[in-house]
Subunit: 325 residues, 2 copies
Amino acid sequence: MTAQASFDPQAFRAALGTFTTGVTIITTRAEDGSPIGITANSFNSVSLNPPLVLWSLAKNARSLSAFSGNPHWNVHVLSAEQESMSGRFASQGGDKFAGVALDEGISDAPLLQDCTARFQCRTAFSYEGGDHVIFVGEVRAYDRTDLPPLVYQGGQYALAARKPRSEVRLAAPPPPECSYTEDLLGYLLGRAHYQTLYALRGMLGGDALDETSFFLLSVLCIRDNLTLDEINAFVGYTGIEATQLAMKALEDRCFVACEMASEGARYVLTAHGREASLRQIALAKALEEDIADKLGAGDAMALKLLLKRLVASTDPGLPDLWAPR
Amino acid sequence: MTAQASFDPQAFRAALGTFTTGVTIITTRAEDGSPIGITANSFNSVSLNPPLVLWSLAKNARSLSAFSGNPHWNVHVLSAEQESMSGRFASQGGDKFAGVALDEGISDAPLLQDCTARFQCRTAFSYEGGDHVIFVGEVRAYDRTDLPPLVYQGGQYALAARKPRSEVRLAAPPPPECSYTEDLLGYLLGRAHYQTLYALRGMLGGDALDETSFFLLSVLCIRDNLTLDEINAFVGYTGIEATQLAMKALEDRCFVACEMASEGARYVLTAHGREASLRQIALAKALEEDIADKLGAGDAMALKLLLKRLVASTDPGLPDLWAPR
């Protein structure tokens, strides 16, 4: 090797971190029989025939002797739900395997459960790799599930938003002079919102409420015994207004009762109103499952994560509907 | 190596494909001086000190002799915008470098532009890896941009939706008996839609329109000279209705003019209406840039991709607003 460049380790690591990876836990058993496991994202496939994979381990890792001494190790491609497992096996000390259920594998190496994929390997080669050792393993058995995989990019966990093989287009390409296109985030949010609401209305059939009633009932299902002002503090940003007339529509359907208190009218959900609202929620959940089936479970998780981040970053300071009182 | 397991190559490949990767193009120059480049996702980092990276190349690849003969090669971590480059360099034949602008590197290996990161390497080791050769390279120079990286998972391109280090929560955890939670997709879509609309209204100030006027004006900005029935075919799914009264509100502000034709009234946008709509679109784009800054450019792209996929999968058969006529 020629004289090495001297890089700022943090900047070099950050540049390397732009290469997206999955997250794996790699396990083996030490000579004394104790289970060993570490989180690694240096995994990759090498060869199909023979079936080989590789990963690299720091020469100063405490687990090096175990992996050098035992040819049997298992690679677990973690699912999106296993972020905490990743953190646990990335940290030093503590009994990482405490309370972790194991499956029976073809070797003595611990085999973790609920992963996206597992590869049971036997060291074929171990190679010099600077401050790391590169382990190349022959895959002797593998299995996989449909669980969406955990992703790692730029030092953060992530989920994948997959691109279909052909471009997703909703409409004909707009003429060049048209600056309002389907690529406008606001258009996509509005259309996604109204289309799902439209689908929900279709599922509710004759029980469907108009949008105002639907929103007011939803608020009261989470928190009731509210005055008009209190309701409006929750829904005002939507442009929908809780008026006496709007509440009257819900009272007429026996969903809501108005109770007079010293500070004025307060609205409470009736048992019938709660039932109607719960039915709406159940159908909304069924619709969501249907959408997750179409997009893929991981993509649906990614969508919800991104919507939450958007909502958090554009929150005008709404009161917390779910806050205990 | 012990006797190898015989796996169904397709199933084994699919299991390996659950491990998410970035996408790279790796380049070198053949002995005759011609540029060589291939798409690879078998890249990974190995060592910080010395700085080493690796990737593997099929032994039957036509580029093997070039990479074996020339120690200099460059790894380009592709950006989300470089999907077509990935496809071009993954295919056989044709002049992959035709029309591709190159930067000057420290070796003769071609250095591509507009990537997320680039590593200029020199072979340190090449190792046996079954049907592949593993190239380990010393990184002699590198650079990076802020362009969001392209992701590959399960045989599909993807974008990363990154998770902040601490969980994103919008509200207090709901009591266990409350089945309406912030995790409901419908809630998130509605809140995201109305919050962005609320922010847009704030930017428009006194020029803000009510929701009905806003939607009707937007439709007419994309396509005008429409009857009420035609407008309603486009907006009906939102629950908003184009009535004569609703159009009158736009006429009163001189945004829309009503023209009588043989088949009834048709509505056209006035110059003033077009100006107002274009101003809304410009502000909506500014708002979108602000959101993209907060989420990250790649995450914002991922959100739009997923919203488009959701809209496509829940489309009740809306007519195409942008269709040429």
